[in-house]
């Protein structure tokens, strides 16, 4: 219908053979022109309740259905890899437990064990056991928050409060030992800063009982709830091989049926082989599976902590370490099973008191990179379910 071109006089219109399919297509184009429904571009974030911090999701909607989603990150970028080049090893420990601030003790473990490998120092067994216990406690704290948070994102207000209430007991435990609830800064090259305070074992056992009870509560309140099932079953399915290609790790990939847990399969960094525990997987790979796997892993971690208390060896918590720590030259890659996924540090040292280059591989960065693929053709409420089920932390993405 391009106007402006001079039409030939009526009598001499060229004889045009029009086949029927052309007519239908012409009619349709006519309709589209009138109903010119442009797509709506919606900005979810950076201030949005469902983005756990400052992730911005630019979403192109057709009605309520997503055509394309493009996560915009970097609002929380603190430039850690640049900062590590200007700091000594103890100073970097305080830095890196602020990457995934929910399970901050678990961030320190790979960096410190990497430095210990470079220096050829072995932390004493009691320190290894306390490290494992505190890593599992921070895993429980992170997952308890997730179990409540997922309920909140899907609409139920109450589970979030149960999650926070039980997480307080676990944080008090961690604060009792390390002095800091969120940023323990308790790891030293060669062991730990201090030993357990008096009465910690009994408090830990009673807290683990509370954690197991709260897991059953979540089972009844959320997993058993048919509305929750309807909202999360077959929503946001991650196929196993595509997940691996995107670098998705942790409970997200185990929920797609990949039986891969760095605590058992990776390089031995903590005495997990001395405990008997099970790696939980789920075949479906949807949001429900991710919630279910994390619920079982919380229970597994609580049982692990109880075993650790049983077999805790006596002895010192700090190996013999020279006062001025100079890490010999070399490169090491240490990756551990953090609550959010595979967290690893590639430390390049040139024999100084600080590393030359540290590549920080954080779990949520890759877990979120699959979002553009996953969110195609999804409803708006399901975006929130998928974001909640992936469970990322912004500090982890932006480093």
């Amino acid at each position: 219908m391009t106007t402006g071109t001079e039409l030939p006089p009526p009598g001499q219109l060229p004889e045009v053979h029009v086949d029927p399919s052309m007519l239908r297509q012409l009619a349709e184009s006519q309709v589209n022109v009138e109903l010119d429904t442009g797509d709506m571009i919606l900005n979810l974030g950076p201030q949005h309740p469902a983005t756990h911090g400052t992730l911005r999701l630019v979403v192109r909607l057709d009605g309520e259905r997503v055509i394309a989603a493009d996560p915009v990150i970097g609002y929380m970028h603190r430039g850690y890899e640049k900062l590590t080049e200007f700091r000594t090893y103890p100073q970097i420990t305080t830095l890196i437990n602020r990457i995934d601030w929910l399970s901050s003790f678990a961030n320190e473990v790979p960096f410190i064990s990497g430095a210990e490998m470079l220096m050829g120092i072995e932390a004493p067994p009691r320190a290894q056991y306390i490290r494992t216990a505190l890593t599992e406690l921070s895993r429980i704290a992170t997952f308890l928050l997730f179990l409540g948070e997922m309920g909140l994102q899907v609409g139920a207000i109450t589970p979030a409060f149960y999650g926070f209430r039980d997480r307080e007991y676990v944080l008090n435990l961690i604060e009792g030992v390390t002095g800091g609830r969120f940023h323990p800064n308790f790891n030293r090259i060669g062991g730990l800063k201090d030993d357990l305070p008096w009465g910690w074992y009994s408090e830990c056992r009673s807290t683990m009982a509370k954690v197991l009870a709260s897991c059953d509560e979540f089972e009844n309140l959320v997993v058993g709830n048919p509305i929750f099932e309807q909202r999360t079953r077959s929503i946001g399915i991650i196929p196993a091989e595509l997940g691996a290609a995107y670098g998705v790790s942790g409970s997200n990939i185990r929920a797609s049926g990949v039986d891969w847990d760095l605590r058992r399969d990776g390089k031995p960094y903590l005495p997990y082989n001395e405990l008997d525990w099970k790696v939980w997987t789920h075949p479906d790979g949807d949001s429900f599976a991710r919630y279910w796997v994390r619920l079982q892993e919380t229970r597994e971690s609580a049982r692990m902590v109880l075993q650790l208390l049983q077999q805790m060896p006596a002895g010192p918590v700090m190996a013999k370490v020279p006062r001025i720590i100079k890490v010999p030259e070399g490169e090491v890659w240490v990756n551990t099973e953090n609550p959010l996924g595979e967290m690893g540090y590639y430390i390049v040292s040139k024999g100084a008191t600080g590393p030359f280059r540290v590549k920080i591989r954080s779990a949520s960065f890759s877990n979120v990179s699959i979002l553009p693929w996953m969110l195609r053709g999804v409803y708006v409420p399901d975006i929130i379910t998928i974001l909640a089920s992936l469970y990322f932390i912004l500090g982890d993405i932006d480093r």
Partner: protein, 241 residues
């Protein structure tokens, strides 16, 4: 292929106390357990002469390949070696950072890195190197560190997005931080930094501005006592750890 031994040449003076630890450090760094050597052999069988050098870093195989075989390496790793999981793709700038502060001022706020340029395991023939780690989630669950050199004048590398879609964000971040172009990457645009940001922050010659703005509180010296021993140096510059 000379098995380049990555024993640390510079004998760190402070670690003299644990001489024996020194021996274990050297051995742990270089020994490769049978699985790793077998993985390396299969890779070399596939790639032939593209593998320039390889080394060991505490149980992981580090392999340096020619830049033009970088994409082929990825495809070999994923299809033949079963490394279906991409951990990350990043880069290293081997040039030692320029000294921010003049030598004698006793400013020990930054750890003193050695001044001469040394390359890590499996060496490098230029300032920049792109390196990646692939792991396998099935079977033997092994890991491999792959490195390739980047020509300093023309910072280019092949993009892995066609083999590992996850590399998309990693390569965008590496381009943003180091300025290395990735050929075949769908959309190289800023990931962390605002779009009008110039410069590549993770390069060693990029200054850390926060440290130039504020004077270092550790520099303040205790004034010497008035009168006779003013000459004596105020505070013995304690060798800060």
């Amino acid at each position: 292929m000379p098995d380049d031994d990555a024993t640390p040449e510079a004998e760190p003076e402070a670690a003299s106390a644990d001489g024996d630890a020194e021996a274990t450090v050297a051995s742990a760094a270089t020994t490769l357990d049978p699985e790793a050597t077998e993985l390396l052999a299969r890779l070399e069988a596939q790639l032939g002469d593209a593998v320039i050098e390889h080394g060991a870093a505490y149980g992981d195989v580090v392999v340096r390949v020619r830049p033009d075989a970088w994409l082929r390496t990825a495809r070999v790793c994923r299809d033949d070696l079963g490394c279906d999981y991409l951990s990350f793709v990043s880069a290293i700038d081997w040039m030692p950072a320029p000294l921010l502060v003049d030598e004698g001022s006793g400013d020990t706020s930054t750890p003193a890195q050695p001044r001469e340029t040394t390359y890590g395991t499996a060496g490098s023939d230029g300032r920049y190197q792109v390196f990646a780690i692939v792991e396998s989630t099935q079977g033997a669950r092994r890991r491999m560190v792959l490195k390739t050199d980047v020509d300093e004048q023309d910072l280019r590398a092949e993009s892995w997005v066609s083999v590992y879609p996850g590399a998309d964000w990693h390569e965008r971040e590496t381009w943003e931080m180091f300025g290395i172009e990735f050929d075949g990457h769908p959309a190289l645009r800023h990931l962390y930094l605002p779009f009008e940001f110039e410069g590549h922050p993770l390069r060693k010659d990029y200054p850390l501005l926060a440290r130039e703005v504020k004077p270092w509180p550790g520099l303040v010296d205790v004034e010497p006592m008035p009168g006779e021993d003013a000459g004596e140096e105020a505070t013995p510059a304690v060798e800060a750890p």
